[in-house]
């Protein structure tokens, strides 16, 4: 019989080990909290650089939001209206979504419902690689390849325009729509599929009648995140949209977006000047828009999980 060697041995771990461990837990906690600090930091630093502009006579918030006149460096007639830039951003985003949403969701449905495991694996890898292409490379593609194609096919004088930016942004947003959309479809319980198939539905009927309604909030979140990415994209639109402050009348008009304006002008604006502050103000505007979109998308996704 194996006899017990003795009653309880007190723990031999030294006080130091325990102390170090407690300290380490606090470091971990701090790292978790750091995400909040960074977001607050972003808002604080961007807003604090922009804020003094509110006390300047040549700036009014109404003009900022509702005027199309953007003459930030004019000597005689300084105007800080970003409406044209907002419209520029929206037009490119809208076009890109018109292209990316059907293709992205279609690809998500194919990957999730129609293809075999091998093909699925390879498609997901390709989509992941697509998402990894740097935005400046996308911009370069817009600037060179897409520009030539658009000039040849549409006969437009200048191939850098809404259409070019829209197509490039669409290609950039598709991966995020596909991966989030596929997650949403995967989240639909298999029992739904089995029930559908048991009733004799084809896979197409299953997708159309059962899966799309069941996954619609998740797909909405996918679209929202795609929109978020498109609005925030900088380098690609800077290089591909032609860079003219302009409310576009057609697909082949050049425009300029909020992000591209900051990227193009911040380098030349003297630190602390009104122009510099207005550019930070544009940053605040962008931060607010994407913040709202991200929160909404998160609420939508959280809503699904709760179900």
């Amino acid at each position: 019989m194996l006899a017990r060697t003795g009653r309880r041995k007190p723990s031999t771990r030294s006080v130091w080990v325990v102390w170090i461990e407690t300290a380490f837990e606090w470091v971990i906690r701090l790292c978790g909290i750091s995400a909040i600090l960074f977001v607050l930091g972003i808002f604080y630093f961007v807003f604090s650089k922009a804020a003094p502009i509110f006390f300047e006579s040549e700036f009014s918030i109404a003009e900022f939001l509702f005027s199309t006149q953007w003459y930030p460096t004019s000597e005689v007639n300084v105007r800080y209206g970003v409406l044209a830039l907002i419209v520029g951003t929206l037009s490119v985003t809208l076009l890109s979504m018109l292209i990316a949403v059907p293709f992205g969701l279609g690809a998500a449905i194919f990957v999730s419902e129609f293809c075999g495991p091998k093909l699925k694996e390879s498609l997901k890898i390709v989509i992941e690689l697509l998402a990894a292409i740097p935005s400046v490379v996308w911009g370069f593609i817009g600037l060179t390849v897409m520009k030539t194609i658009i000039e040849k096919t549409t006969g437009a004088e200048m191939g850098l325009n809404v259409l070019n930016g829209g197509i490039i942004l669409a290609l950039m947003s598709v991966p995020i729509i596909v991966s989030i959309g596929e997650d949403a479809l995967k989240a639909v319980p298999d029992s739904y599929r089995e029930a559908g198939i048991a009733l004799g539905a084809t896979r197409w009927q299953l997708v159309y009648r059962v899966l799309l309604p069941a996954a619609k909030t998740g797909l909405l979140a996918a679209v929202l995140l795609g929109v978020g990415r498109a609005i925030g994209e900088t380098m690609a639109v800077l290089m591909a949209t032609g860079h003219a402050v302009n409310i576009p009348g057609s697909l082949v008009d050049p425009v300029r977006t909020l992000t591209a304006t900051i990227a193009a002008e911040l380098g030349e604006a003297p630190e602390g000047a009104n122009h510099y502050r207005v550019l930070f103000m544009v940053g605040v505007l962008l931060f607010t828009i994407t913040f709202i979109i991200n929160i909404t998308a998160d609420l939508v996704i959280r809503g699904i999980r709760r179900k």
Partner: protein, 270 residues
């Protein structure tokens, strides 16, 4: 219905032989997950060096009770409990060093869990966590625990292979070896036999009979006959309340105190 008075009476009666010492005393233990109460004021004692069988249908609060005992309930975010659990005269709820408590109470979960490390490391894990470093001491302990768990002969040639690659029954014995590795005074087994074959079950039951001389064993089981084979006293828990606690003999006899005990033990419900 059983009132807490009834519980106390049952507890007192079972205490009748004066020589036994109470290892654990539980008084009016209430546990809730969120707003849902799953244990409605449970009181009983566990004697030193006995095997206490705990029977009852699924969802009757058996596992939850064990998790209060070693305070791993702390890891469940929305769980709250009140009442008193006393181990060796120390109040569990007020203990600051819960790790010491958990080392005092060995716990074997329903499903076998071989940790994704070598068999040796599986058993040496707990002693290492509490600071044991000496190789020879560890070697001795690993051999002792694996032998106690009736696994040594099967694995002594391959202590370096992964614990997760053992068969289900072997993994369950590995889990028991791990629970023994921190030299507990109380061993809790939570439905240890649901994932393993009858032969292995019998081997482990033999092991438990031997271990009884060294430690207190709480055997939660869904097989009422297992309690009958091993336990001196049995507790019947149903929907978070104690229906009956008494000597196994009387509970499995023709006239238990409560009609429901008779029905459950004889398979009329549950």
């Amino acid at each position: 219905m059983v009132t807490s008075d009834g519980n106390r009476a049952a507890a007192c009666q079972a205490n009748a032989p004066a020589a036994v010492r109470n290892k654990i005393e539980i008084r009016d233990l209430r546990l809730s997950y969120g707003k849902k109460e799953v244990l409605h004021g449970v009181s009983f004692d566990i004697h030193e060096n006995e095997i206490l069988g705990v029977i009852g249908p699924a969802q009757s609060g058996k596992t939850s009770m064990l998790r209060c005992l070693n305070r791993t309930i702390d890891f469940t975010a929305d769980a709250t409990w009140t009442g008193s659990i006393n181990v060796d005269g120390e109040e569990v709820g007020r203990m600051r060093n819960v790790y010491e408590l958990r080392r005092k109470i060995g716990m074997v979960a329903p499903l076998p869990v071989g940790l994704p490390m070598s068999i040796y490391d599986n058993v040496a894990f707990a002693p290492r966590c509490s600071g044991m470093k000496s190789k020879s001491e560890l070697d001795g302990l690993v051999e002792k625990c694996l032998t106690q768990a009736a696994l040594w002969d099967e694995v002594k040639e391959r202590l370096d292979s992964l614990g997760t690659k053992l068969s289900g029954g072997q993994q369950q014995r590995l889990t028991i070896a791990r629970a023994l590795s921190h030299q507990p005074e109380v061993l809790c087994l939570d439905e240890f036999s649901i994932a393993i074959d009858p032969v292995t079950t019998m081997r482990i039951e033999d092991v438990l009979k031997e271990l009884k001389s060294e430690m207190t064993i709480i055997l939660v089981t869904n097989l009422v006959q297992q309690a009958r084979r091993l336990a001196a006293r049995t507790l019947f828990l149903w929907e978070g309340e104690i229906v009956e606690l008494g000597s196994t003999e009387s509970m499995f006899g023709p006239n238990p105190k409560d009609k429901r005990t008779f029905d459950y033990v004889n398979g009329i419900f549950g």
